[in-house]
């Protein structure tokens, strides 16, 4: 029953999406607003139906309805309540529903926000959104239906992938998908601009905040993913250059480039073509990311499944890229810029360089990710490029980007005079050099760490210089200090939101550098009562205990930790799930601003007399998460409605 209703609603939604897409496109071509209105109704219908599908599937999970194949595959009677909800999007079929739902939601918001303005672009954008939605509903109908039946009905299900039994799993996919799907809107408006032949700045202005929102969610998704990897996977790291991490990182890189290059087009009317191509690339990369995760083309810890879905995605990716770039070629003459760069030393060229570096980083990540495929296709050998490749190529790129982060926002437009450079950068450069010297004096011998530190101080100083100068100007006209700073942030929220995001990135960069340069680890086997030492910590092994949980068996080690004082007992564990061959590590840790103590339980004697323990002291990792919070605040500031008109 549930299965039939769910499948029926999916099919109706698909029909509505196809109809709505065609109606909106016809309405755009003929200018008949009745057609566009009809498409709007279709979009509302789709949203309602997909929401109902989602609710129905959640209900099936909560009631252990094993007559539905997807439920039986991803839950069992022991799955706790909370994970029965997150289990809804724990695998392929459910994540496609979540994706479609978000896309439908964005389509509704687009209708509400842009129906009145943007007469020429809006119908085409709506048509694009509905077309993309139709594709995802098609996948839901023919390739990955979450409502497929199962006969005979099994007594119990298989259970959720144990690694997904974590609170991070409610937020990570949601944030990531909001980011992925969010880039559909700028893409839809870019397509509208090309279709309508209005490739000016209108589409950019309309989608500015959409882009920031999508970028923000994508950043958040990546950060939560890092946190999940750090505290669940038990290898002590937060980023592994895994193909699927890369799949989310590539659109982030091009999306970041796009966020910056739109500012040049708004100001100088150049880079029209570049911006359109960037947004197409970003959207294409989100599809590529989905293709990677869903098709199993490249082996990865995340890869869900293989099946006909891969062919569908590949076909759609081909359709999107060829159509979009075909439109670019068609509008080629209109897209060519009127302006030119005046000087190499200017804000435009700083931003342009930033774009080149970001796209280069995206390209190297892409190259590294598909390299195993390439080598298999050309030489017949399976090889992967590992983290060393990605680190070696990307570290210089990212360092240069951070440096530009200091230069870009302050250097003059068009042509920077020596005076301008001196006024803005003299003190920051001096401070940066001093910072490097201090770091050296404090015993930092890693050139990379010192360089990162110096660059970070330089950028932080440029931001301070700017804020101090602007505040001073306001104080001079008689404002008080706090209202002056507050007003500044509110009136120029995009600029200062950007600065705060930059600060967040700087903090993250420090955390990444620190954790790479100064983390230490050891692995040792202890008998009961014996102690191990690492970096000032002493751990005593107190024994093992075992517990039967609702859906797994757990062996817990107890370790009493002291440094100069008692720090309590840490309990890393191993979880044994019946459906998994290998036990799952359960990490225990003590987070700190300076360092984290991180314990992973290894092999143990069954009688509890001895255990192997991996001890890590990870330095500065917490700053990555703190940087994420700062970034969040900055992004929120930048998303606020602009108040400049009243200034």
């Amino acid at each position: 029953m549930t299965a039939d209703v769910g499948f029926g609603m999916t099919v109706v939604a698909l029909v509505l999406a196809v109809y709505g897409g065609v109606a909106a496109a016809l309405g755009a071509r003929t200018g008949r607003s009745a057609l566009v209105e009809s498409a709007q109704h279709a979009a509302l219908g789709i949203f309602t139906l997909v929401t109902a599908c989602f609710a129905l599937l959640t209900y099936a999970f909560l009631t252990f309805d094993f007559s539905i194949r997807y439920v039986a595959s991803n839950t069992n009677l022991g799955t706790p309540f909370y994970y029965r909800i997150t289990g809804v999007w724990g695998a392929l079929e459910g994540s496609i529903i979540l994706w479609s739902w978000m896309l439908a939601l964005y389509t509704l918001i687009l209708i509400v926000r842009h129906r009145e303005g943007a007469r020429e672009l809006y119908p085409w954008a709506l048509a694009t959104m509905l077309g993309i939605l139709a594709f995802f509903l098609l996948v839901m109908t023919v390739a990955a239906s979450p409502f497929q039946r199962q006969l005979p009905v099994p007594a119990d299900g298989r259970g959720l992938n144990p690694l997904l039994e974590d609170t991070g799993m409610i937020t990570h996919p949601v944030a990531l998908y909001l980011g992925f799907t969010g880039f559909t809107v700028p893409f839809a408006f870019a397509m509208a601009a090309l279709a309508a032949g209005r490739v000016g700045d209108t589409w950019l202005v309309l989608t500015r905040r959409w882009t920031i929102v999508a970028w923000y969610f994508l950043s958040l998704g990546l950060l939560i993913g890092g946190w999940w990897s750090y505290h669940v996977l038990g290898w002590g790291g937060y980023w592994a250059w895994d193909p699927v991490e890369n799949a989310a990182f590539m659109p982030w890189l091009t999306g970041t480039a796009f966020l910056h290059s739109v500012m040049i087009q708004e100001r100088r009317r150049i880079l029209k073509l570049w911006n359109i191509v960037l947004v197409i690339l970003t959207f294409g990369l989100t599809l590529f990311g989905t293709f990677l995760t869903r098709s199993g083309v490249i082996a990865s810890v995340h890869a869900f499944t293989q099946g006909s879905i891969g062919a569908l995605f590949l076909g759609f990716l081909a359709l999107v890229m060829l159509t979009a770039l075909g439109l670019v070629a068609w509008r080629w003459d209109a897209l060519r810029s009127q302006g030119n760069l005046d000087s190499v030393v200017s804000r435009e060229s700083a931003f342009l360089l930033n774009n080149v570096l970001l796209v280069a980083a995206a390209f190297t990540v892409f190259f590294g990710t598909v390299f195993p495929l390439l080598s298999e296709a050309l030489r017949g050998v399976k090889v992967s490029v590992g983290a060393p490749f990605f680190n070696q190529v990307n570290v210089p790129l990212f360092l240069s980007l951070i440096f530009l982060m200091g230069v870009g926002p302050l250097i003059a437009w068009r042509r920077a005079s020596l005076e301008n450079l001196k006024r803005n950068f003299l003190w920051p450069v001096v401070l940066g050099v001093v910072a490097a010297a201090i770091a050296f004096a404090l015993g930092v011998r890693s050139a990379l760490a010192a360089l990162t530190f110096a660059t970070t101080v330089f950028v932080a100083a440029t931001i301070t210089v700017d804020i101090v100068r602007a505040t001073r100007a306001r104080l001079r006209v008689g404002e008080r200090l706090f209202p002056a700073v507050g007003g500044l942030l509110r009136r120029h929220n995009r600029r200062y939101g950007g600065f705060v995001v930059h600060l967040g990135i700087l903090i993250i960069a420090l955390g990444v550098t620190g954790s790479h340069a100064w983390s230490v680890q050891t692995e040792t086997t202890l008998r009961r009562g014996e102690t191990a030492e690492l970096a000032g910590y002493r751990l005593r092994f107190d024994g093992l205990s075992a517990a039967e949980e609702s859906n797994h068996f757990k062996v817990v080690g107890a370790f009493t930790v002291t440094n100069s004082r008692a720090l309590g007992v840490l309990r890393p564990a191993k979880k044994f799930y019946p459906q998994e061959q290998a036990p799952i590590a359960y990490v225990d840790y003590r987070l700190g601003l300076k360092e984290d103590l991180y314990l992973v339980l290894g092999d143990f004697a069954r009688d509890g007399s001895q255990a192997t323990i991996k001890v890590q002291v990870n330095r500065l990792v917490s700053w990555i998460w703190i940087g994420g919070v700062v970034l969040t605040l900055g992004a929120l500031l930048a998303i606020l409605p602009e108040r400049r008109a009243s200034a």
């Binding site: 194949r69 039986a72 595959s73 069992n76 199962q150 005979p152 099994p154 007594a155 119990d156 299900g157 298989r158 259970g159 294409g284 590529f288 293709f291 098709s295 199993g296 083309v297 490249i298 082996a299 890869a303 293989q306 891969g310 062919a311 590949l314 990716l317 081909a318 890229m321 060829l322 770039l325 075909g326 670019v328 070629a329 080629w332 598909v370 195993p372 495929l373 390439l374 298999e376 296709a377 399976k382 019946p578 459906q579 061959q581």
Partner: protein
């Protein structure tokens, strides 16, 4: 010339698409088992009914050794009826189907056997040593052994009717030692 040149932009993505299409046809998990064409590890288990189950006792027959679990869903649920049907069809021709349940609870395994009416011998691998010896990575996995007791085919994921019949027919057609 100018006009033609710009159409190269969309064409630029073609190589990438071709590469992905190629990759799509390969399976990254397709790593050949090192056990192929080697004598199968021996084992002695006890069936769920309590009878001894020794691999060595079936030398001279084509053996279909299936690793399963009652929680292995949906793969094991798909192949169980197929294994039973073919076991009935081929048992007179010198083919034996053996089931080994891994990491399973006894009651659940018994219910599975009952639900599908399985009549071929099924045993529990309580210590996990048999599945480790055979290099089982996940369930279901099925090994096809020839009359000399060598592992000839390793099939990952649910066995289909076609796979069963074609493999078994091929192994039956072989006469003596290779």
């Amino acid at each position: 010339m100018r006009r033609l040149w710009r159409w190269l932009i969309p064409l630029a993505v073609l190589p990438v698409l071709v590469l992905l299409a190629y990759g799509f046809r390969m399976s990254p998990r397709d790593i050949p088992s090192p056990l192929l064409d080697k004598p199968a590890p021996t084992f002695a288990l006890t069936t769920l009914e309590g009878a001894p189950l020794m691999l060595a006792a079936h030398r001279g027959k084509v053996v279909v050794l299936n690793f399963w679990a009652s929680w292995c869903y949906p793969g094991c649920y798909e192949e169980a009826p197929i294994l039973e049907k073919n076991w009935r069809a081929y048992r007179e021709r010198g083919v034996v189907v053996l089931g080994v349940a891994i990491q399973d609870k006894r009651e659940a395994a018994e219910k599975f056997v009952r639900d599908f009416g399985l009549t071929f011998p099924n045993a529990q691998d309580l210590t996990g040593t048999v599945s480790v010896d055979f290099g089982v990575y996940g369930v279901p996995e099925t090994f096809f052994l020839d009359r000399q007791g060598r592992i000839r085919v390793k099939h990952v994921s649910a066995v289909t009717d076609v796979v069963f019949r074609e493999t078994v027919e091929r192994l039956l057609a072989e006469t003596g030692a290779r």
